[in-house]
């Protein structure tokens, strides 16, 4: 069918149609890769949230210590991991790799999944400590993930913020959150 359409009535190939088809095919393959690939957030180790929060019973604030007091909740670094992982823990290959990295002096810098635009005033303190929201409200079920998500589990945009602000009766004033 397509092969027929690529030829005109006299059986000659229509070059512009071939070109258009080619561009469409390339776009269909390349664009999703660019769109999805560029937003993937890499992490130094494949951290298992499920293991730490459920099997070991650690709270979120063990590794994200400033969730109730500061703007940014904080990410764990090598000092937090070193509390246990200086000697091999468990049987997983990744845990063994953590011990190796710590021994080699790696700083284990984890990367932020969420990036607020710079014109937004956001602090964890006023959402976690003052408004008493649970972490899942914005972070989804990250505590039960076995591998680090490559992007945020919940899409936090202005609609998401305003939706919650309306339900909670919080401020809807532009100046309250924009700067």
């Amino acid at each position: 069918m397509i092969a027929q359409r690529l030829r005109d009535t006299r059986g000659r190939v229509r070059p512009y149609l071939v070109l258009a088809l080619g561009i469409a095919l390339i776009a269909a393959v390349v664009l999703p890769v660019i769109a999805l690939g560029s937003s993937r957030v890499p992490q130094p180790v494949a951290f298992n949230h499920l293991k730490h929060t459920q099997d070991l019973g650690l709270g979120c604030e063990f590794c994200h210590p400033y969730a109730r007091t500061r703007a940014h909740s904080g990410l764990p670094d090598v000092t937090t991991c070193s509390m246990c992982h200086t000697s091999p823990q468990g049987t997983s290959a990744e845990a063994a790799r953590v011990t190796e990295l710590i021994t080699a002096g790696d700083l284990l810098r984890f990367n932020k999944l969420f990036r607020m635009p710079d014109h937004v005033f956001y602090t964890h303190r006023r959402h976690v400590a003052i408004a008493e929201l649970s972490c899942e409200t914005c972070h989804g079920d990250i505590a039960h993930t076995e591998r680090p998500p490559v992007r945020a589990l919940v899409k936090v945009d202005m609609d998401f913020c305003l939706d919650c602000h309306r339900k909670q009766g919080a401020t809807l004033d532009c100046n309250a959150c924009h700067r």
Binding site: P117, H119, F121, T123, N175, C177, H178
Partner: protein
């Protein structure tokens, strides 16, 4: 009801322009290149206007530090087609940069000429980049910017007050210009709260507002003995 406002005592003002510098530094205001400056595109949310009075040799200079007047009846918000500029419940006239489409209607509507258009995106040298204030977003090319009464400081003050379960106090929230003024000529606070200094000062017999007859109800008062 809170109504943030400012009283500037012209009899105390020495025209040192510390307020201008503090404002530029606090609010990441871009420096424009010389050829742009010649076209009158200098941005200065707080500007000390100098006015010569009298005939030579009997002259003196009068200084008018001029921030945004944060009018109670602002002409700028009436012309904004996208509600990028609006007056918030506490009387601060806000400018929401990502929403601004750069039509410049507000800049033309403002009788105090306090609205500045970004003809180009800001260019920071490496040394400038290091001391940008992270609490204030840099504006992009094609949007209007203006004095915000340093409302990013109010955001922090409000949060602190909420955490301590109390109201925002006068000293919690002061804009950069009021904070820096060496002669305390600039006083800032809630005009409707009798415990705030500004509420008392605005009733001073020396108090006046500029272009009061336009009916925009500015919330910046000036004190001047000499008429």
């Amino acid at each position: 009801m809170t109504r943030w406002g400012m009283v500037i005592d012209l009899d105390r003002c020495t025209g040192c322009a510390a307020c201008e510098v503090a404002c530029k530094s606090e609010n990441n205001i871009a420096t424009v290149p010389p050829h742009q400056a010649e076209m009158g595109r200098v941005m200065s949310w707080m500007r000390v206007l100098a006015h010569t009075v009298g005939d030579f040799p009997d002259t003196h200079l009068e200084f008018y530090p001029r921030p945004c007047m944060h009018c109670d009846n602002p002409p700028c918000i009436k012309v904004c087609p996208v509600r990028a500029t609006y007056i918030d419940p506490e009387g601060i006239v806000g400018q929401i940069y990502p929403r601004c489409i750069g039509c410049r209607y507000c800049a033309n509507a403002c009788p105090f000429t306090v609205k500045y258009f970004n003809w180009y995106g800001p260019e920071w040298s490496d040394s400038e980049r290091q001391h940008l204030n992270p609490d204030v977003s840099p504006r992009t090319k094609g949007v209007i910017e203006k004095c915000s009464f340093c409302h990013h400081r109010l955001q922090r003050a409000r949060e602190q007050a909420r955490a301590e379960n109390r109201d925002v106090r006068e000293e919690d929230y002061q804009p950069a210009c009021a904070e820096i003024c060496p002669t305390r000529a600039i006083v800032f606070g809630d005009l409707d709260n009798p415990t705030h200094h500004v509420a008392e000062l605005k009733e001073d017999p020396r108090a006046m507002r500029i272009m009061e007859d336009l009916g925009t109800q500015p919330k910046v008062y000036y004190l001047r003995a000499r008429r």
